[in-house]
């Protein structure tokens, strides 16, 4: 198998290229689709690419194809609001997401790609007693797992976010917040590109514009996929799609407990840095952070009905702006630059589905709702281990598909989504 030798990125390299004016080479290769692979991964987002990367790096499985109907990071991995945190509610969830934050922390060095991780601190606001009680509960669960997480009052919030209206004369006064210092933001495109480049360098093939049209099975075992570029045979096929997860699983005859909802987000024009923390309000259905470029990124809860449509709506922008201004009235003159939407696969317990299905060799890494991006590295690492060893790693054992039949749901409803 051909190995690709990418240029090592460094300050000195950048300086030399600047002087010589030499073109930078392509970041990953475009190669012909082969007839057979050891593993085919459907979906070139952060989950698919990280699974491929850890398969090659940790397990030496390099005859891997990542196929995508569109382009690298064009789905949920490029549409999310790039927030990282691990202050979840169940011990299984906290452990898993903390592993992910840990991997993100060293990702830039591992991939030799600047992913711009900024652990700026994460605030989840409580506007009523019920929410405050859940924050306390989460803080205690987090602390037991060794995660920096505590409940703070309005004065401390004001110190962290000076522009926040923490007074009593608002419609939903702020009673407190769950403060999670290791949380923060990252550049999501860089994460996708970094994984793609590093996986490609080890021999993994990335095939964009390669749509899976069907999944071939024989005697309850997967044998390969049919694509618009021809048939490919593989003993292991991993469904790493979001939005299309049930449509892909249907091709293998596997039913998933997932409903697809759109989720809308928006960004403002860039301004000077004034908001260091990520601010989330469940009651107001909104989360805000400021990127390194100075734009404010807003996200909301999912649209209230199931759909595959990725159109944005005016009522979303109006509602969002109203809620943001309740928190920070002084930014009322800022203008929204653009808005977009992505698809979220919602499961009944707001936890993902990772692992085996009843079709041998057909693995799923789906149901990522509104929390898929922050889980990318940990799920890739675990799914790679699962595919290479044919055994479910301990860290994801609570998130298997069989839990719905066996009645052991892993409910993250209280910590995974806003507006529930």
């Amino acid at each position: 198998m051909s190995r690709n030798k990418p240029v090592k990125y460094s300050a000195l390299g950048l300086f030399k290229r600047g002087l010589s004016g030499k073109e930078w080479p392509r970041v990953w290769r475009d190669v012909d689709l082969k007839k057979t692979y050891d593993v085919v991964i459907i979906g070139a987002g952060v989950h698919g690419l990280s699974t491929a990367y850890y398969l090659a790096k940790n397990h030496g499985v390099k005859n891997v194809a990542v196929v995508d109907r569109a382009y690298v990071g064009g789905g949920g991995s490029g549409r999310n609001t790039a927030i990282l945190r691990s202050n979840y509610l169940t011990p299984e969830g906290v452990r898993f997401y903390d592993r992910s934050v840990d991997l993100y922390r060293h990702l830039a060095a591992d991939l030799n790609f600047n992913v711009m991780f900024a652990p700026r601190g994460h605030l989840t606001l409580a506007h009523n007693d019920g929410a405050l009680r859940t924050m306390r509960w989460r803080a205690e669960v987090n602390k037991v797992q060794g995660i920096d997480s505590e409940v703070i009052g309005p004065e401390e919030i004001k110190k962290l976010v000076p522009y926040m209206d923490v007074s009593d004369d608002t419609r939903y006064p702020i009673l407190g917040a769950l403060y999670h210092p290791p949380g923060g933001i990252i550049r999501h495109d860089a994460v996708n590109w970094g994984y793609a480049r590093a996986a490609d360098a080890m021999g993994v093939e990335i095939h964009q514009k390669t749509e899976v049209l069907g999944i071939n099975t024989a005697g309850g075992k997967v044998t390969g996929v049919r694509t618009n570029r021809g048939d490919v045979s593989a003993p292991i096929v991993i469904n790493c799609t979001a939005g299309w997860a049930t449509l892909i699983a249907d091709m293998a005859g596997v039913k998933l407990p997932i409903i697809t909802h759109p989720l809308q987000a928006a960004v403002t024009e860039p301004v000077q840095m004034f908001l260091s923390s990520v601010v989330v309000s469940g009651s107001l259905h909104v989360y805000v952070s400021q990127t390194d470029r100075g734009e404010l990124v807003f996200g909301a809860s999912t649209d209230p009905y199931a759909a595959y449509s990725m159109r944005s709506s005016l009522e979303f922008t109006e509602e969002l702006a109203g809620h943001v201004l309740e928190l920070m009235p002084s930014i009322s003159k800022m203008r929204v630059l653009r808005q977009w939407s992505g698809l979220c696969d919602i499961t009944p317990d707001f936890s993902p589905i990772m692992g085996f299905t009843e079709v041998e060799g057909f693995l799923v890494d789906v149901g990522w709702g509104t929390y898929g991006f922050k889980a990318g590295p940990a799920s890739g690492e675990a799914m790679a281990q699962l595919a290479a060893t044919n055994k479910t790693p301990e860290i994801i054992s609570a998130f298997d598909l069989a839990r719905f039949e066996e009645g052991r749901l892993a409910s993250e409803r209280g910590a995974a989504a806003v507006g529930h």
């Binding site: 997932i258 595959y308 449509s309």
Partner: protein
């Protein structure tokens, strides 16, 4: 905004309605097995295309309706009042 033609009130904004989800036949509670019941609770078709679903006109006539909607275009091609108006009043 989707316009939903309510059989009682005429076309109204979808923000007046509560989405109840895809229609599914409820198994007979007396004879159902555990597996069938869990399928009924958790598994949906989640189709890309036309789907039949229930909406509740929570800020209007407070009646349930059944709509045929396309999940990609959000076009609604038919609505009708839900059979027995169960639990609506």
């Amino acid at each position: 905004m989707i316009l939903i033609p309510c059989p009682n009130c005429g076309p109204r904004n979808s923000s007046e309605f509560t989405y109840e989800g895809e229609n599914k036949e409820r198994p007979n509670a007396a004879t159902v097995t555990k597996a069938q019941w869990r399928n009924y609770l958790y598994l949906k078709n989640n189709p890309l295309g036309w789907t039949t679903e229930t909406w509740y006109h929570s800020s209007g006539c407070k009646k349930f309706l059944v709509a045929e909607r396309h999940t990609m275009t959000n076009e609604i091609r038919s609505t009708k009042a839900l059979g027995q108006q169960g639990g609506a009043s």
